[in-house]
Symmetry: C2
Subunit: 120 residues, 2 copies
DNA sequence: AACATAAATGCAGATGCATGCATATTTATA
DNA sequence: TATAAATATGCATGCATCTGCATTTATGTT
C-alpha cells in the first residue's frame, strides 16, 4: 500500500529544491530572477520580438497585476534589457520588446539555466 | 535538439497547476491550507504525536519565521486542531501537538488529498 | 449609451532575511 | 571546583518583497 501524500510531498520537495537552486544560481551568476529570464525567453521566441503584457502574463503564469509590477521592477532595475512602447492600434495596450542587450543577457543566462536544468 | 528551458517550463507549469488545484480544493472542501494539512500529517506520523517547531519547519520546508507565523495563524483560525505546550527540558523550545479533532480533520482531508493527487 | 478589455494601483496575505530576546551550553579563569 | 563570560540555539518580530484580488482608469467595441 502506497502513501499518496508522501509521494506528493517527495515530488513537491524535489521541485522546490530545484527551483530554489535555479533561482539562486541565476541571480548569483546572471543577476536576473527566474521570472525575468522567462520574460527574455518568451520575448525572444516571439515572432516580432515583442509581446503584449497580457500575453506575457499568460505564458509566465503570473496574475495580471503581478506581471504589471514585475515588468516595472525589471525596467527600473535593468532598464536596458527590455523596452516598453505603446500599441498604436490599441492605445490601452503596451508592448514589451527585447533589446540587443536583453538578447545578450538571455544568451548568457540560457547557458547557465541549461547547465543547471540538465542535471535535474 | 531539445530545448531544456522549454522542458523545464513545462514541468514547472504542470507542478504549479497541480499545486493550485490541490490547494484550492483542500480549502474549499476541508477549510485548511496545504501547509496546515502538512502540519497535521507530520504531527500524526511522529512517534509522540507532537513535534518541535524547529523540526516541523525542516519537514515542511518553510523558513523558521514563516513556520512560526504559520502555526500562529493556524491556532488563531482553528484553535482546536493543534495545541502548543512548552518543552520542560528546554524552556526555549515549544511542542506542537495534534488534538483529537486535528486527527479527525487530518483523516477527512487525507481522503480529499489522496483522491486529487492520485490523478496527477 | 452600455459593456468589454488592457493595464495600473490600493490593499492585504505569506514569505524570507535580519534581528531581538530568552535560555542552554561551552569555555575561560579565579 | 565554582562561576563568569562567550557562544549557540529556539522562537518571535520588524521590515521589505512578491503575490493575488478587487477596483480604477483609459480606451475600444457593439
Amino acid at each position: 500500500m502506497s502513501n499518496l501524500t508522501q509521494e506528493w510531498l517527495n515530488r513537491t520537495r524535489e521541485q522546490k529544491k530545484n527551483l530554489e537552486l535555479l533561482e539562486t544560481r541565476l541571480i548569483e551568476e546572471s543577476n536576473i530572477t527566474l521570472n525575468e529570464y522567462y520574460v527574455l525567453y518568451f520575448l525572444n521566441i516571439s515572432e516580432e520580438k515583442e509581446m503584449r503584457l497580457n500575453d506575457l502574463q499568460l505564458e509566465i503564469g503570473l496574475s495580471q497585476s503581478a506581471m504589471s509590477r514585475m515588468i516595472s521592477r525589471m525596467e527600473n532595475k535593468n532598464c536596458s534589457l527590455i523596452e516598453r512602447h505603446c500599441c498604436m492600434t490599441d492605445r490601452r495596450g503596451i508592448y514589451i520588446g527585447i533589446t540587443k542587450s536583453g538578447y545578450l543577457k538571455l544568451k548568457s543566462s540560457q547557458k547557465i539555466v541549461d547547465s543547471i536544468v540538465r542535471k535535474f
